[in-house]
């Protein structure tokens, strides 16, 4: 495994690293994390990505995690020294896309040997849940899965998924890396009110709670709890501290992040919400959130069956926004030793930690401890 970091975030530097990995016979696949501030566009990147012959996937994120630091500009290039299979599901939001069939065709069932599956999705796509259901059916718990949603903080959907075909949007890519991993998932958010019955929802749009406009219900609870009032331009500033929680038995709630207000009192979330489900409104205590990152790291370390070589940390961008300067403490809970840590601040996190159903989380810390041989790492 070779991992390079370019702090300039330039296409030229990326080209240099990709060329080097192309020429390295030990490297069999490439994973790229890039910051949105790099300003990569299909026009600037597509020719370069198309020139790479080895399997490549990547994503564009608001921030990257490198050497236990949050960076807002730069590119991480990860050369995978194991066989790497890649499958692409385009047009993810298109209801006519038969995700099961596409996954069958491009990826197929995994072999009997345990593998690590790394998944990147466009965080603003509307059928991420359906995609993960299909992926769970295909791979089950025999495969450790981790990943996250790409996108930019201006909340505008744009090309953010890298493949050998170029930089695209509204897609998901799956890579099977070989090797094993331990996976941990935790968020630390706690309910302050609820539960509310979802009486109207469509994909990521939450229309009504208890037959009332969702924002009306949400505002009542949040304004009372926070002592602040929603205006035309401060929604996310307040909402980043008050996500929804979907009920699960014997596990932490699955967090849904309300991203923006929709039409007719609706709320647009990161990830799907379904009619018939119940949600609580959650609130975060800084200490609990930071502790949750540690829990996730500990779960990951506890479940890896081989000697660890790398920590992959997919942490929600809204935790960054909520914790602000305290986010460094969260990183410190994951980067506790000399094991290298790389990752990204994501729009939604993906994991099937501890033998659970493969799920799309929000505002959550997902840590995977990988069995990569450390002597191959060049940071």
């Amino acid at each position: 495994m070779l991992i390079h970091f370019d702090s300039s975030g330039s296409v030229d530097a990326l080209e240099g690293y990709l060329t080097a990995l192309e020429d390295d016979p030990k490297i069999q696949g490439i994973i790229v994390f890039a910051c949105t501030d790099n300003g990569f566009t299909p026009a600037s990147l597509d020719p370069l990505l198309a020139s790479v012959n080895k399997p490549l996937i990547g994503g564009v994120f608001p921030n990257l995690i490198y050497r236990a630091q949050k960076v807002s500009r730069g590119t991480i290039v990860w050369g995978v020294a194991r066989p790497m299979d890649v499958g692409l599901v385009p047009a993810l939001s298109d209801a006519t896309t038969d995700i099961d069939s596409v996954l069958d065709r491009v990826l197929g069932e995994p072999g009997d040997e345990s593998t690590l599956q790394f998944v990147l999705v466009d965080g603003f796509s509307s059928r991420i849940g359906a995609f993960l259901n299909a992926l769970h059916d295909l791979t089950g718990t025999a495969v450790d899965t981790i990943g996250g949603g790409a996108g930019s903080l201006d909340m505008v959907q744009r090309p953010c998924i890298m493949t050998n075909d170029g930089l695209i949007m509204d897609a998901a890519v799956v890579s099977r890396l070989g090797g094993t991993a331990g996976v941990g998932v935790a968020h630390g958010w706690s309910p302050i009110d609820g539960s509310f019955h979802i009486t109207g929802a469509e994909n990521t749009v939450l229309h009504t709670l208890d037959w009332r406009p969702a924002f009306e219900v949400y505002r009542e609870v949040v304004e009372k709890h926070s002592g602040r009032r929603f205006s035309d331009d401060n929604f996310f500033d307040i909402a980043k501290a008050y996500p929804f929680g979907l009920a699960r038995l014997d596990a932490e709630r699955i967090v849904r992040d309300p991203l923006m207000r929709g039409e007719h009192g609706a709320l647009v979330c990161v990830g799907e919400v379904n009619e018939g489900e119940h949600v609580d409104i959650l609130h975060g205590d800084r200490g609990a959130l930071i502790a949750a990152a540690q829990v996730a790291r500990e779960q990951a370390d506890a479940t890896i069956r081989e000697k660890p070589g790398l920590r992959l940390f997919m942490d929600c961008i809204s935790r960054v926004l909520f914790l602000e300067e305290d986010f460094e403490q969260e990183l410190a809970r994951v980067a506790i030793d000399d094991l290298p840590v790389i990752g990204a601040c994501t729009f939604g996190e993906i994991a099937n930690g501890a033998g659970e159903f493969l799920e799309f989380f929000n505002k959550t810390s997902v840590v995977a401890t990988l069995s990569e041989a450390r002597q191959q790492i060049e940071l």
Binding site: G140, T141, A142, A247, R248, L249, E356
Partner: protein, 662 residues
Amino acid sequence: MTNKSAQLPIQVALEIALAIGNSLDLATMTREALRTYLRKLNCHTGMIIRSPLGADPLVVAESPRRALRHPAAARALEMLRARGEDASASVLSGECEGSHFYVMPLTDYGHLMLCRSAGEFGPAVLASLNKLNAKLSGACVACEQNADLARAKQSAEDADTAKTLFLANMSHEIRTPMNGVLGLANLLLLSDLPPREHGFVQTICSSAESLLTIIDDVLHFSTLEHGQFSLHPEPTSLRAVMESVVDILQPVAQEKDLPLHLTIAGDVPAGVIVDPSRLRQILTNLITNAIKFTERGQIDVILQCPQRGTNTVRLELLVIDTGIGISDEQAARLFDPFHQVHGGYDRSRGGVGLGLAITRELASMMGGDVSVNSSLGEGSEFRVTLEVEPCAAPSEDEIATGAYANLAGMRILVAEDDETNQLVVGEMLRLLGAQYRAVGDGLEAAEAAATERFDVILMDVQMPRVDGLAATRAIRAQGTPWAKEVPIIALTAHVMEEHRDQCLEAGMTGFLSKPISPAGLSRALVQHLPRGSVADHPQLDVPTSVDPERGARAERFDVSALAAMLGNNHELLERVLDTFRDEAPKVFADLTEALEEQDYDKAARLAHRLKGTTANMTANGASKLFARLEAALSAQDLVAAEALVARAPVALDEILLADRSG
């Protein structure tokens, strides 16, 4: 928040409950339900299993695929198999490699298996699951029942399709021997038979024709019902169609002293794009019914145009009678197939209760509808509405005539495996003046066409070795100008539209359904042979008119009365009588021939002509006889027609053998 943990299992149970039974497709419903079970109960593997009594469990849904790869799932299934029917009432559970597994009964259906790494289910959760599983088993049973219904429906539809195919095949199988019966009976009628035997043969012909009418009705309805029938719209003179039908049925109405009036409104376009045959069929069905069920009063046929659009017009065809009428209850089923309101099968007219059903289907195919407004005892008004495109009316000479073709000098190849049919078709061709060569299959036909040139090829479709379609393709593939152009007319008992299309696609020029009549054969040959290569028989002249009043007074032929009418010009009398002697037997021969060929229209026209001729000859008794014959032929009352034809020679002889000295 103290009640939160207690509420959670209830919330989760509610959410799972809402995900159960959202589809009647078993695979979809169980997949969605199982995914919700797994997500909400924090399980990693699950299966819905159908457990038939005494049989191995059957996996209906599983997540992930090949769920049995997980050791806990494999262990659970093993336990289920081992417990057999004992597992139908209680929950089986255990632990395997860090996962707890549960096999829970789905009453009357099977089992739900769940595996999780997040610890055991508590008692409250298991109690909730009991209720959820009852809903899931009910939903699974409903899906299975729905699938059974769908299979039964498909089976019924398949059977219906098979019925159509059976009818088509039956039609073919009946029509083929019927061709032999009718063809040879027709030929027999042309021979010099004693009157008694002549009558027998005529009865054979009329009975066979009646049978074919019934077969055609059933087949026609079946093809309509299954959408295997298509219309052939063309520029059509509405007046010509309406008048021709009314003219034909007028004598039938007169038999019952029923005035039959046709009114065509002034704003009805002269021509429209419509299938004239099917319009004629609709009109014939309705007027025939009106006559049949009216004993006194009158029948009015009205065509009007209540609405004109930019490109189309709405036509309204009304057939109004003063007959026995029908009740509202009867009216509701009037257009149902095989339904006969007035009880029973009318042997004098034939039919099996399909006329109005066919009428409705035809009207529907033509973009229209048919309805009835009736009062019991007061009469009925049938209303057909059609949406059609107006056009210029076709000219008169575009309307086909019924004259026979003169095929003198023509060489015709007949490819037909049935020897009887070979004889029938061959003799008909000989009758029309042609020479023919008969071959027994498509291979011989192709070989004959490779060595000889024919003016036309009559090709049976179903033949041994090489069928007519393949033979046609082979002939066309010879590539010579003759082989590309020679008319090849299909002779087949198949009457389905798709068979017609197959013939045309194979390269055939035309299509002639069996049984084949000399008139039909003649028309087909005239249609497909190059214009000018076939001459029609000349039409007979109509004798000069005479005083009808005088003729009306005398029942028997009175030559002196005729002479008197001609001014006692004996030379003229001789010429008139000679002309009658030359032509009347010929016309009568044509009439009997037309009757033998089941060309009742032509026979009726010839009877009409003889009615006028004999009236002009002042032979009023003969004229009345031919008038009745005309009416009987128009109504296809073959029993009456046969009796009248038998009496006709005597009536004609009265004139032919009259003492000219007067």
